[in-house]
C-alpha cells in the first residue's frame, strides 16, 4: 500500500509515483534498447545471447517496478509476480536438462556416437 506523497492523504489507494521517476525510467529503457542493438552488431558468440537477456531482464524489472508500481506493492503481489518466474525457471531448467541429452531413434541406428557430434556442434558457437 502507498505511503502518500504530498498533501493528498489518500493512502488507502495506490502509491503516487513522482513524475520524474517515470521520465527517468523511460530514458533508461530507451538507452538500454540502444545498447542492446549496438552490442548485437558485434559477434561475441554465445555472449551475445547472455548480454541481450541480461539487458532485457533489467528493462523488464524497470517496467515492473516503476511503471507497474510493483516496488510499492504488498508482499502478496510480489509473491504472485514471482510464482510465474519460478515456474518458468522450472520449465526451462527441466527442458534443458532433458532434451539436449536425448538420442533420437534414427541417430541411434545410423551412428554409434551421435551424442558426441551434437556436443561438438554446440561447442563451436
Amino acid at each position: 500500500m502507498g505511503h502518500s506523497t504530498g498533501s493528498g492523504g489518500h493512502s488507502e489507494l495506490g502509491h503516487i509515483v513522482p513524475l520524474k521517476v517515470y521520465r527517468t525510467v523511460l530514458a533508461i529503457l530507451l538507452v538500454l534498447t540502444f545498447i542492446t542493438v549496438a552490442v548485437a552488431q558485434f559477434d561475441f558468440g554465445n555472449m551475445n545471447l547472455v548480454v541481450a537477456m541480461v539487458v532485457a531482464s533489467v528493462k523488464a524489472a524497470l517496467v515492473a517496478l516503476f511503471f507497474m508500481h510493483l516496488k510499492y506493492e504488498n508482499p502478496i503481489t510480489w509473491l504472485y509476480a514471482a510464482i510465474p518466474i519460478f515456474l518458468l525457471g522450472l520449465l526451462l531448467g527441466g527442458v534443458f536438462i532433458d532434451d539436449p541429452f536425448r538420442i533420437s531413434p534414427q541417430d541411434a541406428v545410423v551412428a554409434a556416437a551421435p551424442a558426441e557430434k551434437v556436443a561438438d556442434d554446440h561447442g563451436h558457437h
Binding site: G14, V25, L29, T33, A81
Partner: protein, 215 residues
C-alpha cells in the same frame, strides 16, 4: 446490475461505483490483485513459447542464426521504442487519474493507443515483406527456415493479438475518462488497464532481442 437501485450514477467525478459488501479501497486492491493473477498466467502462456524457442534454437542453431538475419532489426528496434513510449504514457494516464484529471487521462491514453496503432502498422510492413519474399506459411521459401518461422509468426502473432486486445481495453478506459468517471478516490480501471498494457510491453522487451538480434 443496471436495474438495481444501486446502479452507478454517471455524474461528474462521482467516486467509486457502489459494490455490495466491499468498501472502495478493498475493491480497488482486489481488482488490482486480480489483474496481477491474470498477468501471471499470461507470463506462462508466453513462457511456454520461450521454452520452445530456446530448445529449437539450441538444436538448429545455424538455421536460427541465418533466419534472424532476414528480420529487419531496424523495424524491430523502432517498434521497441514505440512500445516503451506507449507504456510511459499509460503510466502517465494512471498519474493523471490519481489526481482526477480526466481530460489528461484521455489524451495520455490517446497517445498510448496511437503508439499501438504505429506498432501494428510497422508489424504489418514486416509481415508483408515476409509474404512477398515467400517466407509466409505456404510460401516457396518457408521450408528454408521451417523451425524458426513458425515460432516467429506464433510468438509475434500472439503478441500482436495482445496489442489489439490492449487497444480495446484502453479504448474502453478512455471512454470512461471522457465521461469524467475518475477521481482521486476511484481510478481502478485506469490502473488495471495500464497493468495489462505494461505486460504487453514487457513481453516485447524479450521478443525483440531473441528474434531479431541473437536469433
Amino acid at each position: 446490475m443496471s436495474h438495481g437501485e444501486h446502479a452507478p450514477v454517471l455524474d461528474d467525478r462521482q467516486g467509486p461505483p457502489h459494490i455490495h459488501h466491499m468498501d472502495p479501497p478493498t475493491a480497488y486492491h482486489a481488482a488490482k490483485f486480480g489483474m496481477w493473477l491474470f498477468l501471471a498466467t499470461e507470463l506462462l502462456l508466453f513462457g511456454v513459447m520461450f521454452a520452445a524457442f530456446g530448445i529449437f534454437r539450441w538444436k538448429y542453431f545455424e538455421e536460427f542464426h541465418k533466419a534472424s538475419k532476414h528480420l529487419n532489426w531496424m523495424l524491430g528496434a523502432a517498434n521497441t521504442a514505440v512500445l516503451l513510449t506507449s507504456s510511459y504514457f499509460a503510466a502517465m494516464a494512471v498519474d493523471h487519474a490519481q489526481h482526477g484529471r480526466n481530460k489528461k487521462v484521455l489524451s495520455s491514453l490517446g497517445i498510448t493507443i496511437g503508439c499501438a496503432v504505429g506498432f501494428l502498422v510497422i508489424k504489418t510492413i514486416e509481415y508483408s515483406e515476409k509474404y512477398h519474399h515467400g517466407y509466409f506459411p505456404g510460401g516457396e521459401n518457408f521450408h528454408q527456415y521451417k523451425t524458426f518461422l513458425p515460432l516467429y509468426f506464433c510468438m509475434t502473432g500472439i503478441h500482436a493479438l495482445h496489442v489489439i486486445i490492449g487497444m480495446g481495453l484502453l479504448g474502453w478506459v478512455a471512454s470512461l475518462a471522457a465521461k469524467n468517471r475518475f477521481s482521486e478516490r476511484y481510478y481502478t480501471p485506469v490502473e488495471v488497464g495500464a497493468l495489462y498494457w505494461h505486460l504487453v510491453d514487457l513481453i516485447w522487451i524479450y521478443l525483440f532481442p531473441l528474434l531479431y538480434l541473437v536469433g
